[in-house]
Symmetry: C2
Subunit: 346 residues, 2 copies
DNA sequence: TTGAAAGCGCTAACAT
DNA sequence: ATGTTAGCGCTTTCAA
């Protein structure tokens, strides 16, 4: 015989159950359940009694039991690398917006750009049988891909469109973003171009931008003149140090392309401190369109990564697919990032 | 008769169950469960067969069922206002660190500084019966307090210690932080002091800092000379605009105390652009110790809010309380923020 | 070392 | 409009 067959004596710390509300209101558990879920076919009088009892007792439904019984979970798993770089907070805001009114709740997990961690986090999240999955990037380990493909729920890969998607995808082409920035820089007449980034081989989006950038230069017969990659966080200070180091080595550079706005801003501040002629003698560009940085002495040339929009669209796809199971999977949305020339690109 | 009494035919999209692994391995569900949970008392041969079958099928356990059966959930609910201001990402990192090795997973919800939203988010999260709750701030609506008090799990309120806690609390005293900054400013000889912040009546921590600051000035017989409060995001641009507006109105101010580092940095950049004598003619200070901003032309005076440490300690408390149910509740940890004078406070 | 049976708290499907 | 019953997929408890 498992457990004690009769209910345990009332325990102060025991969370309340539907049965408690049922007993307190003199209404069957089933009807209590109907009231609390806002279903119809309950008389106003009964409804009122139940609601009063639930509120008085402070009943909080047990979604674990509810989800098991109904096979319905209102959670959307969101798997992103980190919160350190100012890009994902905005994606998350977009996701919240896109989920608004759908009754779905985002649940966030972090991978730290580590494939093994991504696999663990996905496994953890999928074990809660979420209603949908939103995951950053198209590059996943084999096991992670297999899990996602078998997840049995909508899967939206976000941020990046350069690659093969498992199901739906919403993002921008980072390769194209790099190419377009290269094009603008070439059009402005810069020719001795340096690249600066943080050393993150697993940041595939930064890598693709840099590749697209270098490819476009190459097509114009221009080679990347020098590169500087640092490890560690990407703050203003890092941008300063990298810029100084790069220019010490290659003083004739006339343009610096940074892998993100924060290090770009650091470089900008350092160059201004040196009295550099920007954008005449040397130009700068970053990436992301971080508006926290709008108040710099010069507006840094950058490219908006459509972060909020990506989050919103991804969430909408999940919400729509759940609302209408007949909706076709595999949707593909490529957003067009807009170049902001700012004051650092002549 | 509910549902179909016999199991449905194998459906391609149906998630796998323990039974599938049981059938594939020829081992009882119970033993499969033991293997997958890493419990002892299973022969190596059986263990191997089960693991092979689970891996081959791509089985992902259903934690909903597991949690219902065992009343054990490995989730820690984390409720914070937003990710917009660079303070909470670091708190979250701290929480992840503090949970490391405990098998617990953080699940994050956002309130947008809105008490009604906080209540909804808490209700949602508690309905998943988390193993613990970490919530920002001590100010909650009545219903939210009641829910937390009845949650039946460790509750840690973080960031702030100025007030009454429900259970445990880890944070700093923002009132004291404001006082200490006021003291340093007075000691440096500044007397015409202005306050700048974003207009967020529900950001209780910023409010308490400003109150503590003004109180300490008052004790020295110094009144706050002028104040400027803006709505909307707090980026560099906002800091610029606010500083300009405030100084246009009160040009004789000799110190500006900002409610956060980002607007402080904006003000600093604007003043430097004006050729202001910093910290001689005018001094500046922010709050948070945001190291992304370390590379500014001058290091802004600030006060480290111990964000990562707060997250780590809060997570440790939850982990410890779960590991040892006899551990006493109501722990109270007040951290001491350290003043960094930087280059903007003489 | 393995298995069988009951039941976690809720909801689906009937029945009334 | 309300109640009854079985069972969601797992784990606990006991038996073998």
């Amino acid at each position: 015989m498992p457990r004690s067959p009769s209910r345990p004596a009332r325990d102060a710390a025991r969370p309340l159950t539907l049965r408690d509300v049922s007993e307190a209101s003199g209404v069957s558990e089933m009807t209590v359940s109907r009231v609390l879920r806002g279903l119809g076919d309950v008389s106003p009088a009964t409804r009122a009694r139940v609601q009063e009892a639930a509120a008085r007792l402070g009943y909080v439904p047990n979604r674990i039991a509810g989800a098991l019984a109904s096979s319905r979970v209102n959670l959307v798993a969101v798997v992103i690398p980190s919160l350190g770089n100012m890009v994902f907070p905005e994606v998350l805001s977009g996701i919240s917006e896109g989920l608004e009114g759908s009754g779905l709740q985002p649940v966030v997990g972090f991978t730290d750009y580590d494939p093994a961690r991504e696999e663990r986090v996905l496994f953890e999240m999928l074990s809660w049988r979420p209603a949908g999955v939103i995951v950053a990037g198209l590059e996943h380990g084999e096991a992670a891909r297999a899990m996602l493909a078998r997840a049995g729920c909508p899967v939206v890969e976000i941020m990046d469109t350069d690659g093969e998607a498992i199901d739906a995808v919403v993002g921008i082409s980072h390769r194209r973003a790099g190419r377009e920035m290269a094009e603008a820089i070439l059009a402005a007449g810069y020719r001795r171009i340096g690249l600066l980034g943080t050393k993150m081989p697993l940041d595939h989006r930064a890598r693709k931008r840099m590749e697209g950038f270098a490819d476009r230069l190459a097509e114009a017969g221009v080679a990347v003149a020098d590169r500087e990659f640092y490890e560690g966080g990407s703050g203003l200070l890092k941008g300063r140090e990298m810029t100084q180091a790069l220019l010490a080595r290659s003083p004739d550079l006339d343009f610096l392309y940074y892998s993100n706005d924060m290090i770009g801003a650091g470089g900008l501040l350092w160059l201004l401190g040196q009295g550099a002629d920007i954008p005449g003698r040397i130009g700068l560009a970053g990436f992301n369109g971080v508006d926290l940085l709008d108040g710099l002495p010069r507006r840094l040339a950058t490219m908006d990564a459509c972060r909020r929009e990506i989050g919103r669209r991804a969430a909408s796809i999940v919400a729509r697919r759940l609302a209408d199971p007949a909706a076709p999977p595999g949707e593909r949305i490529e957003l067009a990032p807009t170049l902001q020339k700012g004051d650092t690109l002549r």
